[in-house]
């Protein structure tokens, strides 16, 4: 079998730099490749664009489509420059190849950090423009006319006297040409697709049950596998009794691997029943004493002895310590599970010589290399198929490929097609959480209420430590724990940030907006508290502190203009407004929330959001990313809580891990700051402000600050305490 990389090298397509793919002439294809003659219209695929004879344009997307809309928005970038017929565009998931590596994290192919459009904006437009230039050159040769006399329109090259010729008829000739360098991209004023709400290209398949997710992959004679995992993080397997499990109809095998037991069955239900019938004995060695409460108590103690100082200014400590009027606040955040609608799964076919994987992969290179190591194969012998991810929110960017690793370890023993399935409980109990966090802040202010000194302590386990991204830590500090505090756009006076990153057995991971999930909440509720002390409108109060950031000011302008809080309107009786503004992933998002308490439960009625995210490639897609971020932020801050009691996770399914539903969804209005800048992140930045804006609104309703999450639980406790 020729690997894709070898194939591209052999055919001369890989010459460094950007690769424009056209139909590779059949003669160049190696005999081992699937014969192109089998489908006369489609030749073997090349790197980013394939145009078939029918002028259908396949656009290869090197990011995982997990709901954020990359199949559509990234296709718009190429189609804009290529000038092809949008109705003939088909997005295709990229295989693993260095050609598809991320332009910023250049050693791997990956989706994350809200970087899809930012990292692809120049690259994909350049590819589209180069392809168009080659098609023009091919037409010029065919018609024997000057290239400068040719234009393009919706998939045709046109000439005043020669008429028009379809891209599909030129593709093969174009592919033989040398790739031109430095082809200019369009002037933005000529954009036809970028800036337009092109309907999602995956909407049809996803509305007719046709989209294939990892869990939908079907291979001939594929077995299903479920796993008995330790009931407590760090527990070890003493022994197990599989006699009942083996009697379960449909169960084929029970295999111990390391600290776990795999139950192999004919179908998913048999695997589940067999798995649940395994009686396992565990060595828990004192882990029964661990609980959410005990962990946070430990964090509070750790705060007294911080060992890292990502931002140091001893004067900030001195000034705040000596200030009896300083604002002092402490915050507690629970563990959170991503709870994507599609539970984790991975399908593997390992035959002893080659391996093939199917899953939604945010880091397919890492997953491939992990698989290769387990199988003892060269990575070129491992093919990774990226299929639609039924949500992810960071979970499928596993730093150690946890569920892929598990699947491969079992597949190595089975040597036949297998699908590893997680039950919802497996998924929710399995860790890789947004870590628990504790914050302590002590702030001194001037006479107008603006901070002069800010001493901030954070205690939270590292996400990056021990994983592929550990190299991004500086001086031992994990920036994903302190982001949003250390790089705040606010003028905070003298600032000292102390950090402690305790370790325990609970695996942590990025979670939609990562550290900003807690730092955004802390910063924006603290600023609100300062504004309240100063008796100022919370939008106006922020302005002088943000005067150095024109993007923040532009967002505040939109909130001022478009929201009732900005306009100084009084809320309905029993309702209140709250505001927050936070930058994450180079995008600034501000939100005004209108909330009330209904039978003591916080209720969000309306959210107005304003965002500065550079140029908006697909306005409707951008709007729904912000709206989705608001729903996610509501679930996370109102209810989100992975509770650990007596060593075990007790919030194991949607009955106990509550998320926002249709009847709670607020009305949402989204405004974008018009911008010509390169697009910045949008998948995550809608999340962080919501919780803070809601907590600030609740303060207006109850007079009490919410500093312990989840909000709904804390508000209920506060009300109980006051009655």
């Amino acid at each position: 079998m020729t690997s894709r990389r070898e194939f591209l090298v052999q055919t001369g397509a890989m010459t460094g730099g950007l690769i424009i793919g056209f139909n590779l002439p059949a003669a160049k294809a190696k005999a081992a490749e699937p014969p192109p003659a089998a489908n006369a219209k489609v030749y073997p695929p090349n790197a980013f664009i394939q145009i078939d004879k029918d002028s259908k344009v396949n656009i290869v997307i090197n990011k995982c489509e997990m709901g954020q809309g990359v199949f559509t928005s990234m296709s718009q970038l190429i189609a804009e420059e290529l000038d092809c017929d949008w109705s003939r565009v088909v997005p295709v998931a990229a295989p693993v190849d260095p050609i598809y590596n991320h332009t910023m994290f250049s050693t791997i192919q990956m989706t994350g950090g809200s970087t899809a459009l930012n990292s692809s904006y120049d690259q994909y437009r350049q590819i589209g423009a180069t392809a168009r230039a080659m098609l023009i050159q091919a037409a010029s040769a065919k018609w024997q006319v000057e290239a400068s006399s040719l234009k393009t329109d919706k998939g045709f090259v046109t000439h005043p006297s020669k008429g028009r010729i379809a891209y599909g008829e030129l593709a093969e000739d174009a592919n033989k040409l040398e790739m031109p360098k430095n082809v200019p991209v369009k002037d933005a004023k000529n954009f036809k697709l970028i800036g337009k709400s092109m309907p999602r290209l995956d909407a049809h398949d996803k509305s007719y049950g046709k989209a294939v997710y990892g869990i939908d992959v079907r291979l001939p004679d594929m077995v299903r596998v479920m796993v008995v995992r330790p009931p407590m993080f760090g527990a070890t397997l003493k022994s197990f009794d599989a006699s009942e499990a083996k009697k379960t109809a449909g169960v084929l095998d029970v295999i111990r691997f390391g600290n776990k037991v795999a139950v192999v069955a004919k179908n998913s239900w048999a695997a589940r029943k067999g798995r649940d019938a395994v009686k396992a004995e565990w060595n828990t060695s004192g882990r029964e004493k661990i609980s959410s409460a005990s962990i946070i108590e430990g964090f509070k103690k750790d705060a007294a002895t911080p060992n890292l100082h990502p931002k140091a200014n001893p004067d900030a400590i001195k000034e705040t310590a000596a200030d009896a009027k300083a604002l002092v606040a402490e915050y507690e955040f629970p563990y959170l599970a991503h709870a994507s609608m599609e539970p984790l799964n991975c399908t593997v076919n390992f035959d002893g010589k080659t391996a093939e994987l199917w899953s939604g992969h945010q880091m397919p290179t890492v997953d491939r290399d992990t698989a290769a190591k387990i199988f003892g194969l060269d990575p070129s012998k491992v093919k990774v198929n990226s299929v639609y991810a039924g949500g992810s929110f960071g979970r499928r960017a596993s730093k150690d490929s946890d569920y892929v690793r598990e699947a491969c370890e079992i597949a190595k023993v089975l040597k036949k097609p297998m699908q590893l399935l997680f039950s919802r409980e497996d998924d929710m109990k399995g860790g890789y959480y947004r870590p628990m966090a504790y914050h302590h802040a002590r702030i001194s202010t001037d006479a107008k209420g603006y901070p002069t000194a800010w001493h901030h302590k954070i205690v939270s386990p590292s996400i990056m430590a021990g994983g592929a991204f550990a190299a991004m830590m500086s001086g031992g500090a994990d920036p994903t724990v302190t982001e949003g505090v250390t790089e705040s756009a606010y003028e905070l006076g003298k600032q000292q940030v102390d950090l402690q990153m305790p370790t325990n057995d609970i695996p942590t991971l990025w979670f939609r907006s990562v550290g900003h999930t807690h730092t955004g909440f802390v910063m924006e509720t603290l600023i609100d508290e300062l504004a309240h002390r100063a008796k100022a409108n919370p939008i106006d109060f922020r302005r002088p502190m943000l005067k150095k950031s024109s993007r923040h000011l532009a967002v505040l302008d939109l909130l001022k203009k478009n929201t009732p809080l900005g306009q100084g309107k009084k809320p309905k009786k029993g309702h209140a407004y709250g505001v927050a503004i936070h930058e994450s992933f180079n995008t600034v998002v501000g939100q005004v929330v209108e909330a009330s308490l209904v039978d003591g439960v916080p209720r969000v009625h309306h959210v107005w959001a304003a965002a500065h995210c550079g140029r908006v490639v697909n306005p409707e897609g951008a709007r729904t990313q912000i709206a989705g971020g608001i729903a996610f932020g509501m679930s996370m801050s109102l209810y989100g809580n992975i509770e650990i009691e007596n060593g075990e996770v007790t919030t194991t399914n949607f009955d106990k891990y509550q998320v926002v539903r249709m009847n709670e969804m607020p009305k949402i209005d989204v405004f974008f700051v018009p911008s010509e800048d390169k697009p910045t992140g949008l998948g995550e930045p809608g999340v962080p402000p919501l919780g803070a804006a809601l907590a600030n609104a609740i303060f207006s309703l109850t007079g009490k600050r919410v500093r312990k999450l989840p909000i709904a639980l804390e508000v209920a406790k506060q009300q109980q305490a006051s009655t």
Binding site: G67, H204, V212, N267, S268, A631, N653, M662
Partner: protein
Amino acid sequence: MELNINGKAVKVDASEDTPLLWVIRDELNMTGTKYGCGISMCGACTVHLNGQPIRSCVTPASAAAGQKITTIEGLDSHAAKAVQEAWTTLSVPQCGYCQSGQIMAATALLTQNKKPSDSDIDAAMSGNICRCGTYNEIRSAIHKAAQKMVKA
């Protein structure tokens, strides 16, 4: 056992207690119906039993024998067409994993109630979780489908 799925009689080899969901997904390899929670809390597995939306993850397949089962693959009613068209036109899905269940619930609603109010939609749709937060787009699509059905 014999089941009637999408208008066809099919013989399946499954134990009595196998949830309908796994018969549909594993025995019949119709993968449009999704597994989400297994305890009827998320609605991803919604199918129609005699036109009524049910949670196939907690319905034993044997209990559905002899009745009319419809999955996303078999939707072809007037209401379903309006719903799926509205879903596509308004680009409702994000990750899309919950949308089969959402569409089954919405189709059942519009079959019974030609002009649902927002509170009718809340009542009919709040059993279906969408983690991407497409609820407002789902609501708009249901209203759009209702309008389309009136015009047609």
